[in-house]
């Protein structure tokens, strides 16, 4: 089956310890707990950092070692029956604790905490983390995430639809062939919008969709709209969330081209670097333009869909320059045919 949303969110399976988001959460939660524990132990606030450092000396080696070990045998653990996997994780954690404890004692680093107490704390924290990931998995379960994805499905501006219809009507009598082509583009666009957009699609398909969209806008705007594509370094097998690019182009036209009396250029660059897919979109922008404000909707929508697919591994940032507006999107490079 093609890669669907949020592969780390399926329930009944252990978390994927190689996933960056999972690792980050483990690190943040455990360190947060250590900080709280330190806060509980001190009577004066100024002693807190020192106390935290002391606890950290105990916690960090175990934490890093756990992460390494779990990442190394994660694939194996996930193949085990669920209960067995959980038991295995507890066993690994307790064994690591004991090993560190005796190792530390031998090197005279650890002299205080008694082993049983340490083991109890480690078991409790491991249990809490597992419950947390289980609950989070439930919250992001495919059924829920798919429902959210559908609700988020990019919507085309009515403004664009009616203006395009009007443009096509203007062609029907004089240039029936161009009218036909335009209607085909419009049909393609709506097919994509109404499709089941829950799974990643080939980037080539998304780019084709963008071209159809831009052809329609060109029909209305003529010379005012210029488009530059930079896709020379684009691997053909890359997959991206459907309708991740087209709404960005729609924004660019709506905010960058339509309000301007002079022609403007939209440039789109898509490439892969360091195993990540980058898309950079630029359009002219003038702060003084008194035309329409607010494009946060489309951006928030795409951002949320990226998150559902890639969790924290994808990013969407915007930058306002002197006379340009830039949107940059990065996500893991997922190849077609990969599980």
């Amino acid at each position: 089956m093609a890669r669907s949303i949020n592969h780390n969110a399926n329930t009944g399976a252990l978390p994927d310890f190689r996933n960056f988001g999972i690792l980050l959460r483990v690190l943040v939660i455990v360190n947060g707990m250590a900080a709280l524990a330190a806060l509980l132990q001190v009577s004066l606030l100024r002693d807190w950092p020192a106390q935290f450092t002391e606890i950290a000396a105990l916690v960090e080696p175990l934490l890093l070692l756990s992460i390494l070990v779990l990442a190394a045998c994660g694939a194996f653990l996930r193949r085990l029956p669920h209960m067995l996997g959980i038991v295995a994780i507890f066993a690994i954690e307790l064994a690591l604790t004991a090993a560190l404890y005796f190792g530390g004692r031998a090197m005279l680093i650890i002299d205080t905490a008694a082993l049983p107490r340490l083991l109890t704390i480690v078991a409790a924290v491991t249990g809490m983390l597992l419950v947390y990931f289980e609950l989070r998995g439930l919250a992001l379960s495919p059924a829920l995430a798919e429902a959210r994805l559908q609700a988020l499905q990019a919507r085309i501006r009515p403004h664009f639809l009616f203006n395009s219809m009007n443009a096509v009507l203007s062609l029907v009598r004089q240039e029936p062939r161009r009218a036909e082509a335009a209607l085909e583009d419009l049909a393609g666009l709506f097919r994509a919008l109404m499709a089941d957009n829950r799974e990643l699609t080939p980037i080539t398909q998304e780019i084709e969709l963008c071209r159809q969209y831009l052809d329609l806008e060109q029909l209305r705007l003529g010379d005012r709209l210029r488009v530059e594509w930079h896709t020379e370094n684009l691997p053909q097998d890359a997959l991206i969330p459907p309708l991740a690019l087209q709404p960005l182009l729609e924004n660019a036209v709506y905010h960058g081209i339509e309000p301007s009396e002079v022609p403007g250029t939209i440039s789109i660059k898509v490439y892969v670097a360091h195993d990540r897919l980058h898309a950079v979109l630029r359009n002219p922008y003038r702060a003084t333009g008194n035309h329409h404000v607010g494009n946060k909707m489309a951006l928030a929508n795409i951002r949320e869909r990226l998150q559902l697919h890639f969790d924290v591994a994808a990013e969407l940032t915007t930058k306002v320059g002197d006379d340009t507006y830039e949107v940059r999107m990065t996500m893991p490079y997922v190849k077609a045919g990969q599980p």
Binding site: P158, H159, F162, N166, A167, L169, L219, R220, E261, N290
Partner: protein, 251 residues
């Protein structure tokens, strides 16, 4: 209606203008029209209407530079103003406002039957009123306008140095000359508040045009401040109540 209606088409999108020409040809047997011209911008529209001989302007609302609502406001200054029928593809706010004020508008894609009705009603003189247009206006205008000998003179708002109320007019001062317009200073302040600052009960000065402030009569004890303008020799008095402006602008 017997007389030929002389029509001007205004739309920034060429296909939309072509479509309107087709539609006008379609309704011609029922409502005879003569298409005087079709233009792509509000400024061209004004120039065309000044030339005279236009009864109806079919005016797109959303256009770059100067939107349809602003164009209609400038057209108002002409004597007599032409009838205006707005056209728009989609703009929830505008449509609501048009309905509220019974302003004539056509939704794109436009149907020939609707166009025909709207043109037939032009005879009953449906020129939108100035107050109504002001209500419809969503963003500050790009220009002020003054009527002079049957022409509408456009004054780009960035050219204006100050606005001063006198009796029933407001004097608009640019670096070159003065114009008189019939608007209220309070309303101008609401519309262009970001650009102008009030220095006196009767005077708004463009922030960008202020070079500094000068104190006069300091030796007599009741000194007052005056605005020094960047490219005009005039001095504008700052009223006692607005003295805080001097401090704020100095920052």
């Amino acid at each position: 209606m017997s007389a030929l209606l002389r029509v001007l088409i205004v739309d920034d999108e060429a296909p939309a203008r072509n479509r309107m020409r087709d539609l006008l040809a379609d309704v011609h047997p029922v409502v005879p029209v003569e298409i005087v011209a079709d233009v792509a911008s509000g400024r061209e529209a004004l120039r065309q209407v000044e030339g005279g001989g236009i009864d109806v302007v079919l005016l797109d609302v959303r256009m770059p530079g100067m939107d349809g609502i602003e164009v209609a406001q400038h057209l108002q200054k002409l004597e007599p103003p032409p009838a205006v029928i707005f056209t728009t593809a989609y703009d929830a706010y505008a449509i609501q406002a048009f309905d509220l004020h019974a302003v004539d508008y056509l939704l794109k894609p436009i149907r020939a039957a609707r166009l025909q009705e709207a043109l037939a009603r032009v005879a009953q003189n449906h020129t939108p009123k100035a107050e109504v247009l002001r209500e419809l206006q969503q963003a500050p205008r790009s220009c002020l306008s003054a009527a002079e000998r049957g022409k509408v003179h456009l004054i780009p708002i960035e050219d204006v140095r100050y606005l001063r109320a006198e009796l029933k007019y407001v004097t608009v001062r640019t670096a070159q000359r003065e114009y008189l317009i019939e608007e209220s200073l309070t309303r101008l302040e609401q519309e262009f508040g970001a650009r102008f600052v009030r220095v006196h009960r009767n005077c708004l000065v463009a922030r960008a045009a202020i070079r500094g402030f000068e104190r006069t009569g300091a030796d007599t004890g009741d000194g007052s401040w005056q605005v020094v303008l960047a490219d005009l020799d005039e001095r504008l008095p700052v009223s006692r109540r607005q003295q805080h402006v001097v401090r704020e602008q100095a920052r």
